[in-house]
């Protein structure tokens, strides 16, 4: 890589791109923590949530720790198996070029999430705060919100800000529901998903890697719920290419390759199977037209960083579950996740290919949660109660 640029411009552009990804992740996490703090006043109500992740074993308070651990392992195994099957199904459908069907499915799942989960969370909030909203107004607002969300997700050329906003909202809604899983199941599930992500993206037989390679070879997009940061324009001469690049879907011959990765997050609610296309993957799109090759080495610059929605969701689940214990663990986990994301972005800039975004952050987050809960809390409580430090 050519590094003859001045440090100032590198920091500027790098900083902008980092902020472009860190901001929505932080907003998502903050909103989930807020929802958890507002809505979870009694900790014993979490047992009522049933999904595919609790299909094998539902945790009750009376089980021994060993039973709980075993049950959590079983649950995670079932969940990861379901996700693997669903992802392979996706790979198959993409291979058979059923892209239209996938796009429709993506729009449908977005509508279901926004209407169903969004509606439920809104009703919970209304209930909690006793807002005197009437059902007519509520249904009109919910309908509007969901339909425009489907537009934002489904249509390829839509306002960047609104699309990003809706993707973050979808992430928040799904993450909030995942935080309602039983505690042990949540932690084991997060670790299992981090390992699955690592395998699915890096192993040559992994479904996500197959998907990415197919997308590259066909020069197509994978229909998926992927958050794309606003591309940072750094150079005047690139504007023309970028403009043409953005029009690639109107079949202009600028061969830009954008790889969207997809993983199905399968969640069963009330006996129904719904699968959402979200992505625990991070990558940077790179145009590979001959012009940019000749012009310069800065291939990554005109691409935007893409972070899959699955990453948003599971980061927020981790932080939300930490919020159920105490806010101190929230701070620790937030810093750990952001650090992990920074490391992943650095690796992305080094390796220039699709990377799993879950493993580093989730591992750091889980480690920090347990360290904070076991050691930091005692220390801080002692300090506070002796008025040494607040």
């Amino acid at each position: 890589m050519d590094r003859t640029q001045r440090p100032r411009s590198v920091l500027d552009s790098l900083g902008e791109e980092l902020i472009g990804i860190l901001t929505p992740v932080s907003i998502c996490m903050f909103t989930v923590v807020l929802l958890v703090c507002l809505l979870n006043s009694d900790p014993s109500s979490s047992a009522s949530f049933s999904s595919i992740a609790t299909a094998a074993y539902s945790e009750t308070d009376s089980d021994s720790p060993w039973d709980k651990l075993l049950g959590a392992f079983l649950n995670s195994l079932v969940f990861v198996a379901a996700i693997t099957v669903a992802t392979f199904l996706l790979v198959l459908l993409f291979y058979l070029r059923c892209v239209r069907f996938l796009k429709l499915y993506m729009g449908f799942s977005a509508f279901v999430v926004l209407a169903n989960l969004g509606g439920e969370i809104s009703v919970l909030l209304i209930d909690r705060f006793r807002l005197p909203v009437d059902s007519v107004t509520f249904s009109i607002l919910l309908f509007n919100f969901s339909v425009v969300g489907v537009f934002a997700v489904f249509m390829s050329r839509f306002s960047i800000l609104i699309t990003q906003g809706y993707l973050v909202v979808i992430g928040v809604l799904v993450a909030y529901f995942f935080t309602m899983l039983p505690e042990w199941t949540t932690w084991v599930l997060l670790v299992a998903l981090a390992l699955y992500d690592l395998a699915a993206v890096l192993l040559p037989v992994g479904p996500l890697r197959l998907l990415v390679e197919m997308a590259i070879s066909r020069d197509e997009d994978i229909p998926a719920l992927v958050y794309e940061a606003r591309p940072v324009i750094r150079d005047d001469s690139r504007l023309v290419q970028r403009r043409v690049w953005r029009d690639r879907r109107s079949s202009q011959n600028d061969d830009d390759l954008e790889n969207n990765e997809v993983v199905n997050v399968v969640r069963a609610e009330e006996d129904e199977q719904r699968s959402e296309i979200s992505v625990p993957l991070i990558e940077r799109s790179r145009p590979e037209s001959s012009e940019t090759f000749l012009e310069g080495i800065g291939l990554g610059s005109s691409g935007a960083i893409k972070l899959g929605l699955g990453d948003f969701i599971f980061y927020s689940v981790l932080v939300g579950r930490a919020a159920m214990y105490d806010l101190m663990t929230v701070y620790a986990c937030y810093l750990a996740i952001i650090a992990g994301l920074g490391v992943t972005l650095m690796l992305l800039s080094v390796y220039q290919k699709a990377l799993p975004a879950l493993p580093v952050s989730i591992m750091l987050g889980v480690v920090f949660y347990f360290l904070a809960r076991l050691f930091l809390e005692v220390f801080v409580v002692q300090c506070s109660s002796n008025l040494v430090m607040f």
Partner: protein, 143 residues
């Protein structure tokens, strides 16, 4: 990977475009060009914009004032430059009018409902208010 950037100062135009009229982008693109969408050069071309504006306007009639609002937001430069894009402006202005009318009606009804309460409506209030409806339909439990 750090990109070799060849400009002296980073071109920040697209980020300021988010909230204001897209400044004419320096040098390469024709300097007097104004983009119709709020995303500036990352958004739609003018021809596609007309199509989008018309579609949003028509869909908004399905009880979707928020879609009209999004229409106005997305084509904000069209509203700012009153002479620039006549066809798009037609639809966007009508969307804005529709949004204002619908919102004022909805707001009037919602405020009447919430402020009037039982004194104004009688027992119907309890039947219409959301938390009771949710309780009746079992929506406020989970799963």
């Amino acid at each position: 990977m750090e990109e070799a950037s060849r400009s002296d100062e980073p071109n920040r135009n697209p980020n300021t475009d988010r909230s204001s009229n897209p400044n004419p982008l320096s040098s390469i693109i024709s300097s007097a060009h104004v983009w119709p969408t709020i995303d500036g050069p990352l958004g739609l071309t003018e021809e596609a914009s007309v199509d989008y504006a018309r579609r949003f306007y028509k869909f908004g009639f399905a009880l979707l004032p928020w879609l009209w609002a999004v229409n106005c937001f997305y084509f904000w430069p069209v509203l700012r430059h009153s002479r620039a894009f006549p066809q798009i402006r037609n639809y966007v202005v009508r969307s804005a009018v529709g949004f204002s009318v619908f919102t004022s009606l909805l707001l009037a009804w919602a405020l009447t409902f919430s402020l009037g309460g039982e004194q104004l409506f009688g027992p119907v209030w309890d039947k219409l208010v959301m938390y009771n409806v949710a309780d009746r339909l079992g929506l406020s439990g989970l799963a």
